[in-house]
Amino acid sequence: MDEDMVFDPSLKKKKKKKTGFDMEAALAEQENTSAEAPAETGDVDVPEDDNLDLDTFGKKKKKKKKPFFNLEEIENALPETPPTEEPEPQEDEVIDDLDLDIDFSKSKKKKKKKNVDELPTEDDVKGEDQENVEDVHGDWIGSDRDYTYDELLERVFDIMREKNPSMVSGKKQKFIMRPPQVVRIGTKKTSFANFTEICKTLHRQPKHLLDFLLAELGTSGSVDGNSQLIIKGRFQQKQIENVLRRYIKEYVTCHTCRSPDTILQKDTRLFFLQCETCGSRCSVASIKSGFQAVTGKRAAIRAKTA
């Protein structure tokens, strides 16, 4: 169904173009390209094209290869199209105009698509920039029509991508961590085997993370010779993971931009989180274990204090 819709306008276009004499050479090429990229052609007039457009956003970036061709051809085509209209008075002029507009945008898109097919993707930034400018101009040359929403959207996305290359992939770089390895030792103790490794990936002092873990879990523990953490009590990996997540949220990721690229500094007895990405600096809560209820044998405590 999509293809039908798409093919209709292109067919019309061919008809019209064939009435013009000089155009045929250029047309041949356009036909080829339209055959190559039937899905992309109907962008402007077919309302269902939103999806298509979105899908192709990723590709369009790479497509900015040869707008030179584009421009020349279009400019060739533009002065020549009026004669085609003159010998063909059967159709309304309004429709003609519309069709021309559509052709215009279409030819551009086809070109882009073609470029993707033909060319390797390694565009150097400089060339891209130049072409981008031309591309943007090429979009609007020779027409004083109203721009469609799709075109404007595409344009703004192109600009965004150009200025912000990290956004090209479409997703933010995720913070990947290895899960904590938690093993039970005997019945009463738990070992957190890759504790130091996790501290390294988080760029935090082991002592700080240790303090936090012990305060949150309400137990005692220490780092042993094999650089693993021994915690008193039974804990599962899921539970430790949960606490680690909370630690990362509070003490590792920036509270403003959520980037994990931060430094924890101690300044006048307070911890400050300095973000390397956005430069923000904010204080974080100090680690307090708070009230600890008596869970052991009271007699033992009494014996200790007395």
Binding site: A215, V243, G290, F291, Q292, A293, T295
Partner: protein, 110 residues
Amino acid sequence: MSIQNLNTFDPFADAIKSSEDDVQDGLVHVRIQQRSGRKTLTTVQGLSSEYDLKKIVRACKKEFACNGTVVEHPEYGEVLQLQGDQRENICQWLTKSGLVKPEQLKVHGF
């Protein structure tokens, strides 16, 4: 559609409201501690001293079907202790009874 700029906005609305009907200030820490075996203990620290903790603990014991006490601590004031893992229960109960706002609750532990 109304024009947003012309809406009257009272900048002190928040301040007045919070001072009026809020006894609880500061965070309420809900913690869990492991005891021997599978047993656990839930502590609630930071409830306002204007509340009658004994009445609260009485209601909680009935509601959660557990035992509990109020412990006096020199630094943290009166602290509620409940047997078992009552973290979710106590959070729901405190917010439902309107003693503590959900954003003032801080749950610790795994």
